[in-house]
Each structure stands twice: as C-alpha cells, then as structure tokens.
C-alpha cells in the first residue's frame, strides 16, 4: 500500500540522507520525494511517498524517522483527510494534433500550454494522482517525449 509521509525537519545538511537511508537500508524504494523550506526558513517540509509491502516494517521506519535528531515530527497522512497535488511538465509531439485540439484536450485538466511549435508542445498541469493517469492516457497517442514530475506534496485538511 502507498503511504504519504509528511515530515517537518530541521533545514540542515544531511537530514534527507538520514531519512532516505532508513528506507534504502531495508530495500524500500521511495516513489517520490518533495522537499522545501517552510514559512520558517529554518525548517523544511518533506512529502514522501513509499510503497510499503510490509506495514510492520513501515511502522518501524516511521518510528525511526521520528527518532532522528533533526526530525521534528512525522505524520502518515494515508489514513487521514488530506489534500495532495503534483506539478508535472510534459513534452508531447505535435505532428498528430493542432494547437486548438491540444488546448481543448488539456482544458478539462486545467492544464496550460507553455509552448507550442511544429514539432513539440510543453504542457504544465497541477494534478491529483488519478488525474495524472487520465491526463497521460489522453496525451499518450500523441507521443510523450519527456515527463518531469515534482513528486506528490500533501497537506492535512
């Protein structure tokens, strides 16, 4: 099961390495990881998505995350109410479409076309997990050249 872990940490070197090594040491892959300063620049917010095959091990990792000296708090949002978003930038081929068609295609995802030429278009979208899959399904027939994702960020309701 995928878990979104949401941690408040000291904005110091080494914190991220300490956190990620707790996962890697157990052979857990981190699906996505987004880190940024909070309104207080001495602290950072970490949003981390991990696929835990064994919940018991994840519980252990969460406790060990909290134990890290530079970690202030850890919350597993999975069973709570929360908002989550991800920013994606995607480059698609334009050979099989027109600008007008593409605009209407991405409109229902509230996406924006950042650039468009005879070969390629760059699209920006802010999406939830399910929307992302739908958007990529729509764009796939055109030919996706490149996809860049920030990773999911989340906030408790």
């Amino acid at each position: 099961m995928k878990h979104i872990i949401y941690a408040l940490v000291e904005n110091k070197p080494g914190v991220l390495a300490r956190m990620s090594s707790l996962f890697s040491a157990r052979g857990f892959n981190i699906d996505s990881l987004a880190v940024g300063e909070t309104h207080d620049p001495t602290m950072s917010r970490v949003s981390l998505v991990v696929d835990a095959k064994e919940e018991k091990i994840l519980d252990q990792i969460k406790k060990q995350l909290e134990k890290l000296v530079d970690v202030i708090s850890v919350t597993d949002l999975t069973k709570k109410k929360f908002f989550e978003r991800e920013l994606i930038l995607v480059k698609v081929k334009t050979a099989k479409t027109s600008k007008l068609k593409l605009v209407s295609l991405v409109k229902k995802f509230s996406a924006t076309i950042l650039s468009y030429d005879a070969k390629l278009a760059v699209i920006e979208a802010v999406v939830e997990k399910k929307q992302l899959i739908d958007l990529l399904d729509c764009l796939a027939p055109l030919g996706i050249e490149e996809l860049v994702r920030t990773g999911r960020i989340a906030i408790a309701q």
Partner: protein
C-alpha cells in the same frame, strides 16, 4: 579573548568535564593535538584508532560518563568506524572528534579525505560537520547532550583543519534546547497503572532486564521491584550486573547461551516484564515459538524498540528508573510460590555445569577462579566468542558497570582496549580482559598503550588454538570441518615481555589460582596465557532459528 577553533574544542571538552581523551594525531588534527598538549586532559595515545574508540567506550561503560576519542581525517576516522558501530549498538555515550581536510578541499579527493559524516551516518546517534567556527562550541555542547541523554549513543563531530586554526570569542552555551530532540519523557501514568493491573493477575511472571537498567542506574529499583512482586529476574548480556546474580530470584542470562532455567522460565511464563531490553534475536530465538502464553509489558525509553520483534501488550515509554519507581509505588506481592518452586526445580536439575574432573584446564574453571579471587568485585571486560559467553556464565555479577562486553555488534578485539579505558575510568578497580587467543590478536598492539600509560589491566587469554565459537558451530553444524578456525599466535608471554609487560603461562589446573593471584599482585600489565582444553564448548546452546527451550546441553 579570542581563541582558535582548536582551543575552543579543548575549552568545550573541559566544560564538559572531560579529563581523559583517547586519540591519535595526524595532519588534520595538528592544531587540536597542539592545543591539547597544554590542557589538563590526559591524552592517551593509542596504537590504532580503533582502540581509541573502544577505550572511550570502555571508559564510558565503567564510569557512566561520556567517553571521548579523537582521530585525524581519512584513515584515522575510518579506523574509528568499528568502535562507533560497537558503541551505537550498545547505546554507549561517546563523542568522537575527527579532523577533516581543509574546508576548501572537501569533496576534491584531497589527501587523507573521507566523507566521515556519510560513512558514520548509520552507526552514530548523530553527527556533525562543522563548517563555521561560530557553530563549533554549540555543536560540541549538542554532541555531549545528545550522546548522554535519552537512549545514549556515539556522536561524531567532524572539524576541518582550517576551522581549528581560525579564531573567535569563546562562548560556551550554559543550557541547550532543541525543538527536534527532547529526551525528557514524563512517566506515562496511565500505562503504568495498566501494567500494574496486568502484573496483579500474573501467576508466572518473569522480569527480563537489559542494558537500560545499567544506563539509567535503575539497579536498586529493579531489585526492589523484583522482591516486591516476588518475581524471578533474567538479564540480557547487556544487563549483567543490573541485578545481583547472588540473589535467589536471579535466573542469570537468557537466550542462545543463557541458563536452561532462564529460558524455560521465559517460555512458560504468563507475563514478561521487559525493562530496558530490546528482544534481540539472540534472546528470543525462534520468534513464533517465543513465550507462547506470555503477555508482554515493555518499559523502554526508545519507542522504536516497542513491538519491533515481539508484540507488546502494554508499552511504557520512559526512563527505566523512573518507570520502576512509579511501578514500585503501586505493585503488590504476587502469589508466586508454586512458580518459584518450579523454577528452583529447573535450577537444581539443570545448573550451569562443565566437566570438573581431570587435570585439563577448562576455560570455565579459569573464569570461576577469577570470580573467586576477585570476590566478584573486579571489572570484567571480554572479547567476543566463547570467552565472552563463559565470562558471562561463570562470573557472578552483582553490581552495575562491572561487566563490559560488545553485545550488539559482537566486536572481536574490543575487550583489551575497552579494559584500558575502564581502568583509566576506575583506577581503584581490578580490571580483567577475558580473551580468546583469536580476539586478543585483533588489537594486541595496545600492549604498548597500556604499558606506556601504566594502565595495569590483566588479560586472561583462554588459549585453545581455535576461533572457538566458530569452531563450535562447525563441530555441531558443519560436520566437524574446521575450516579456517585453527589459529596460531605468538608466544604471548614473550610478546608481553617484549612490550615491557609481564607474561605468565599456565599449563596445569593446579596453577590457575596462584597465577591469577600473582597477576593481580604484579604492578604491571599482565598477560595470562591459559592453555585450555581446545575443544571445549559453550553450553547450553540454542541452535540458530530454534525456540529457546530447545537447548543443546540444557535439561536432560
């Protein structure tokens, strides 16, 4: 007045009450080495940095204070790694100061450069790379605070050589507060009450006490607790000395080489009260067969220890001493007479035993003699393997900090440097390192350190010509194929003498006691070379992956 970074480190160490430091100089710690030259701190020059870490660890275990070691960048720091990992596994408070290459060169593959914070990240409680002299004093303050509080552990402070040379005003913070680290945990009274209720219902309780008893100085409270509820107490390897083994409620050590009666008591108990212990795999044996009828109360300061291996019914997260104090106020005496009688039956039927008859020197006999002659009042350090298990089984520990052994990591070569550290911390005590002929060769160069500093430790080598514990496994599980376990060594007597220490070889059982007495009387470092029965085994033994009541050499 302005001080250099090196002087700031020295002043900070003095503020922390450091009087002994174990270290080795080198290019990247030259300024610090120079500043220490005039300081009222004993610089114990080891012969290998690994020994500096183990000696600081032994000092910490013997005194309860933070042990301090120092090494240069690159190979100096990497040589500390085993010592840091050893201390980390056993929750020992330690601060290691390492030199680092010039700040401008970090990351450039400079001479003697290693990414020390990277290498030590997973084997320390915390670590720091100091990149600004203005943070040096507060970093050292934090390092000592983190090392000594909560569940203790080693902390590395990596200081580039240019930071050691810069200068600024010295100001040492008096107090410290960290929003992300708060080791002060209030005793959870609700959990204490729940625990007391569960205890009340128990007919077959066992108290299972670990190293947390030693760390939090909870030995008196543990004794009070056990006597109050009239329950037997088994200790882990790390908990030896936390409960007097001469007490009739004592079961000795449990687990892979624990006593048969401790293991049977745990397996048949209806309640395990774990205090400052972590259900290590060497203790539990096969997890799904462990103590099938027992409810578990787990009192520990570290939330990550709860339900890690064994499902806990009532967790109580707090300091062992404070938790026991709270429990002692409300628990009552239990009706455990039948249970204690049953345990007494096991004790009679399957005591710890070995072949006493004959003229061969049995290693267990040597340990028993050391116990008798020192009246149980010595500090016993050990290496790792059979020597360690015999020292755990046949010396009766009654006081905390008299047993010093690498439990979690199982580091061969630990005991001798740790004994040097322990003796420097407790010069009033007789300090023995009970060693094997394999382990002692891993840090034997420290003979020079001990002799030069007149640290008169006594090393009892149980010399069987084998890496004995591995040989024992080969005998039992690998069809007696002794692959790479027969091991040669030097003439330990001549070797000791060549370093300026004393050496005594003992070939006859009749000479064992006299040799031990002689070694204690000699005002020098002494190597006792006991030529023991080569294929003696450590029993009882729970084979790996078995339930702990399925012992070889246990109950008939």
């Amino acid at each position: 007045m302005k001080k250099t970074g090196a002087e700031i480190i020295v002043e900070s160490l003095l503020k922390e009450g450091v009087r002994v430091l174990f270290g080795y100089p080198g290019g990247s710690v030259l300024p610090l080495t120079d500043a220490l030259y005039d300081a009222p701190i004993d610089f114990i020059l080891v012969r290998h940095e690994q020994a500096a870490a183990h000696a600081a660890d032994g000092y910490a275990r013997a005194t309860g204070k933070v042990g301090v070691c120092m090494a240069t960048s690159g190979p100096g720091a990497t040589n500390l790694v085993t010592g840091l990992a050893t201390a980390h596994m056993d929750s020992i408070p330690m601060v290691a100061i390492t030199g680092q290459v010039n700040s401008a060169l970090i990351g450039n593959d400079a001479f003697q450069e290693a990414d020390v914070t990277g290498i030590t990240r997973s084997i320390t409680k915390h670590n720091y790379l100091v990149k600004d002299i203005s943070e040096l004093a507060s970093t050292i303050k934090e390092a000592f605070y983190i090392a000594a509080t909560g569940r203790p552990g080693p902390v590395v402070v990596d200081v580039p050589v240019d930071i050691q040379k810069q200068s600024m005003e010295f100001h040492y913070p008096e107090t410290i507060k960290m929003r992300s680290y708060n080791p002060e945990i209030a005793v959870p009274m609700e959990q204490i009450k729940k625990a007391a209720k569960l205890i009340e219902k128990s007919k077959r309780p066992v108290v299972y006490a670990g190293g947390g008893i030693i760390i939090s100085q909870a030995h008196d409270q543990l004794l009070e607790f056990a006597v109050k509820i009239n329950a037997p107490v088994t200790t882990t390897l790390m908990g030896l000395g936390g409960f007097p083994e001469t007490n009739e409620l004592a079961l000795g050590m449990l687990g892979m080489h624990g006593t048969a009666y401790a293991n049977h008591a745990i397996m048949e108990s209806d309640l395990i009260i774990a205090v400052g212990a972590r259900f290590d795999d060497r203790v539990t044996g096969r997890i799904d067969k462990f103590a099938p009828d027992a409810k578990v109360i787990h009192l520990d300061i570290d939330p990550t220890a709860i339900s890690k291996n064994i499902r806990v019914d009532i967790p109580v997260i707090c300091d062992a001493k404070q938790g026991l104090q709270a429990l002692n106020k409300i628990v009552k005496r239990l009706q455990t007479d039948a249970w204690l009688k049953k345990i007494h039956g096991w004790k009679t039927k399957a005591p710890l035993q070995y072949k006493v008859a004959g003229q061969k020197i049995r290693p267990q006999y040597v340990v028993e003699q050391i116990y008798k002659i020192t009246k149980g009042e010595a500090i016993i350090c050990t290496e790792v393997g059979q020597n360690q298990m015999w020292a755990a089984q046949y010396y009766k520990y009654t006081r905390p900090r008299t047993w010093i052994s690498s439990g979690g990591l199982g580091t061969m070569g630990y005991g001798f440097p740790a004994a040097i550290g322990a003796k420097l911390g407790r010069p009033d005590k007789i300090v023995f390192d009970i060693a094997g002929d394999g382990s002692i060769q891993m840090n034997i160069q420290e003979l020079a350190t001990a002799v030069a500093n007149k640290v008169n430790v006594k090393v009892a080598i149980l010399n069987n010509g084998y890496l004995g514990m591995v040989r024992q496994w080969q005998e039992l599980f690998y069809n007696r194929r002794y692959a790479n376990t027969p091991i040669t060594g030097p003439d330990f007597v001549k070797l000791a003498e060549s370093y300026g220490a004393a050496g005594i070889r003992v070939n006859k059982k009749a000479d064992v006691a006299a040799a031990i007495k002689q070694a204690i009387a000699i005002p020098n470092v002494v190597f006792l070379d006991f030529v023991v029965e080569p294929e003696e085994n450590v029993f009882p033994m729970v084979p790996a992956g078995e339930a702990i009541d399925r012992m070889i050499g246990g109950m008939a």
